[in-house]
Symmetry: C2
Subunit: 215 residues, 2 copies
DNA sequence: GGTTCAAGGATTGTATCCAATCCTGAGTAG
DNA sequence: CTACTCAGGATTGGATACAATCCTTGAACC
């Protein structure tokens, strides 16, 4: 009741910051000067700091006392760690979710997969990223483990910087479409083991591609 | 570096709040009235809210816009989810850590296990809880996966409320000592599979005991 | 030339103050 | 008696103002 209804200045700033980080508008390593950002968003420093503290707890920014906030720089080992943790947690989610999937869930997943493909062919990177996230989190949320969903979400957020780069490539987009088809097949068969294998491969390709970019 | 040196009002309040939550001084479900708490800690509401926002990001408190912060109530499903996530993540940590363990690490772990036992026999619950946490996180940190350590730490924090209850019982303390002995044996043998099994059993006993208390 | 040190401004941390929202309870109508 | 309404106080969200810290810059000294 109070989630969508009450938009607070802090939540607006938080969303804006998230977007700016995801698009690379705020580059890794860059200092976030509070007064400039506050002015840019048209708020005071208080709600801005609110948002920054949330991002710090998620690992999106780092904080040094009396020095300020900086966008976290993701090293290659960091990237690998994030994807390894995702593998562990998303496998658990899949294991729990598969037996719980209703036909409606499968239907919704198929629809999202189609939407991803449309965006992919049209080259609409932003739309594809959004639909892709919805697709994967529909599956993860189906496990009905809210904390698990939150943990995985924060891991996704950590690599948001690179996502637009990854989907910028048409070959990557095409591969993703094929992988999603395999994932959907495993979901339709209610085969958790196969599904986990497909998800692992899906992630492996992404991390391999990203690793070559980070270097 | 900058952790111990720069004590900010917010960090002091955060530590105090953590302690108060862990000891049950602040009970689950209770509202946290900002002005009262600020006065109690001798700071203004600004750094207090800072601390509360951090705790919210960790799931220790929940927030409702214009209504305030409340200590999270952990339902039985929540408790089970936390322990299931710990199982998944700590297993991964053990898998990674075992091949990396130096003799010094094993030495340190043995020492901590001894310290736990001493505290256990003396009935010093606080000291036991602290040493126990150090013991388990020495192992987890040995995996050299900082994000993993942070995630697991936040899961531990989520059930801090119940830890003092659990260790309040002498039979529980005794069982924990035995389990730690088995865990140490697996560590000494560098046997990750056995270790994970022992850790799982260790956790299972705890969650079973806590479940009976929560009801 | 390189190093040390002290202003001064720039930036962050905190307190105080105001605005917006919520909660309570008395009163009223049905 | 119950349900509704609407002040008034209580509490939170946010802005402004002040204090503490840091970072630069330039001059003095070796």
């Amino acid at each position: 009741m109070s989630h969508a209804t009450h938009i607070t200045a802090g939540s607006v700033v938080l969303a804006e910051l998230r977007r700016a980080i995801a698009t690379g508008e705020l580059a890794p390593g860059q200092q976030l000067v509070q007064e400039s950002l506050a002015e840019r968003f048209g708020v005071s420093r208080v709600p801005l700091r609110e948002a920054l503290q949330v991002l710090e707890a998620e690992g999106q920014v780092v904080h040094q006392v009396h020095r300020g906030y900086f966008i976290t720089e993701l090293s290659l080992p960091d990237l690998i760690e994030v994807y390894r943790l995702r593998a562990v947690l998303e496998a658990e989610a899949a294991r729990v979710a598969v037996p719980l999937l209703t036909d409606d869930d499968v239907e919704a997943l198929a629809e999202l997969a189609a939407r991803i493909e449309d965006a992919s062919e049209a080259g609409e990177v932003g739309a594809m990223i959004e639909a892709n996230r919805a697709f994967h989190f529909t599956l993860i949320d189906a496990a009905a483990m809210p904390r698990l969903s939150r943990l995985v979400a924060s891991l996704w957020d950590a690599t948001d910087v690179y996502r637009s780069v990854y989907y910028g490539s048409a070959t990557n987009r095409e591969r993703v479409d094929h992988e999603h088809a395999s994932i959907m097949a495993a979901i339709r068969n209610r085969n958790a083991t196969t599904l986990i294998g497909e998800l692992d491969a899906h992630r492996e390709h992404a991390v391999a591609e990203l690793a070559s970019l980070v270097l």
